[in-house]
């Protein structure tokens, strides 16, 4: 099981707790996780990635294993600890404002 942590507003929209678990087939990539997340919670479509292009929204970040993976290719395989469910894939609202 892949563990995904969601920020406060997206948790509320999806009606979940802080962390959700998803079945994702290998290879486990950003795109595969987010596709599975949006299938489970259609309300999140357009909130993390843009409709149409599936680009990451500018003020959303992806962290895992203490690394910022936001700028990685969405089809790059994620760290093994994420694929094994040992570490969460974190969707984060970027720091913004003063």
């Amino acid at each position: 099981m892949i563990r995904v942590q969601l920020p406060y507003h997206l948790r509320n929209l999806a009606g979940t707790g802080r962390e959700v678990e998803l079945e994702v087939d290998a290879p486990v990539t950003q795109r595969a996780i987010l596709d599975a997340l949006e299938r489970r919670y259609p309300v999140l479509r357009g909130t993390i990635r843009e409709h149409g292009t599936a680009d990451r929204r500018p003020f959303v970040r992806f962290f895992a294993c203490q690394e910022d993976l936001s700028h990685d290719d969405p089809d790059t395989e994620l760290p093994a600890a994420v694929a094994a469910g040992e570490e969460p894939f974190m969707v984060v609202g970027a720091i913004s404002g003063g």
Binding site: P7, Y8, H9, L10, L13, V43, R45, G46, T47, I48, E50, H51, G52, R57, F59, V60, G93, A94, S96
Partner: protein, 372 residues
Amino acid sequence: MSGVRVLVGTRKGAFILTADGGRGDWEVSGPHFAGWEIYHVKGSPVDPSRIWASQSSGWFGQLIQRSDDGGGSWNPVGNEFAYQGEPGPHQWYDGTPHPWEFARVWHLEPSPNDPDIVWAGVEDAALFRSTDGGGSWQEIAGMRNQPTASTWAPGAGGLCLHTILIDRSNEDRMFGAVSAAGVFRSDDRGESWRPVNKGLVSSAELPQPEAEVGHCVHNLAMHPDRPDVLFMQKHWDVNRSDDGGETWYEVSGDLPTDFGFPIEVNANEPDTIYVVPITSDSEHFPPEGRLRVYRSRVGGNEWEPLTKGLPQENCYVNVLRDAMCVDHLDPCGIYFGTTGGQVYGSADGGDSWEAIVRDLPAVLSVEVQTLP
């Protein structure tokens, strides 16, 4: 007994204020969608229990919420606003071409006759329509595909289609206003549009003050029983048209300043109109720190200040374009919200006011439903 439901959109959520027809004893619910920007909340004139809300965030984008029980519960509906085809450029602030990009829904306009049809005015300026209650949205591209659109440039708030008026007696006829482009009219239910800005003069904002487009129209108002007469609060100037927008003339008259954002028409008196004068485009607060609604009972030019119950010292709030509305009771109720978080209401046509709530987040929009 009849009643009213006031729908308030703020920077940090939506609030619903309800009262009976006396409009003196208010119940406040909210925040709905706490922490999100709610640009607009509006109910169907056909089915008042159906309400739509535009919910957005710089982080997580645009959602549309719908309630089918008068705001008691909400469900997200469609949130994909895709421009038709390959959108060309409009002008950017520096004069260079800039591609059309969806940012948010500014205004939701439910059909006066069909509870499943709702229109959306968006930034970058375009018109969308849903025919399934908000489940899906299609761009009606005639607005964005006009020949003048490549010359449109954003105002300080963005290039937004912020006002949609529909002639209740002839739904084919619609008006849309874009900042900073002007007023546009459709006579085929939104399929095609043309600029209707003749007579507008924007000396402070445009190198050609009487240009066909480029005017920073802030808001429009129409009495439903007299759809040929339109009132406009422009960046500077209050204007009026008696021929469905074909020609405009200024009716600022004796206002202390003719800058402002909202304009409204009394529901029972088509020649009674309301504006909230703001000092200037450089000073977005009431003149002398005194919050005054101005009323004209003769369709413009002659104005009287309405001050009873409104702060007359140290008041430096603004009232945004979609933040004033009227109910359909007699006497007519008027409501407006401020960037300081107050929502004021008058149950006597503007003669006196009370603060229904004082400490909300900055108010972006105020609409009212008159309930049976």
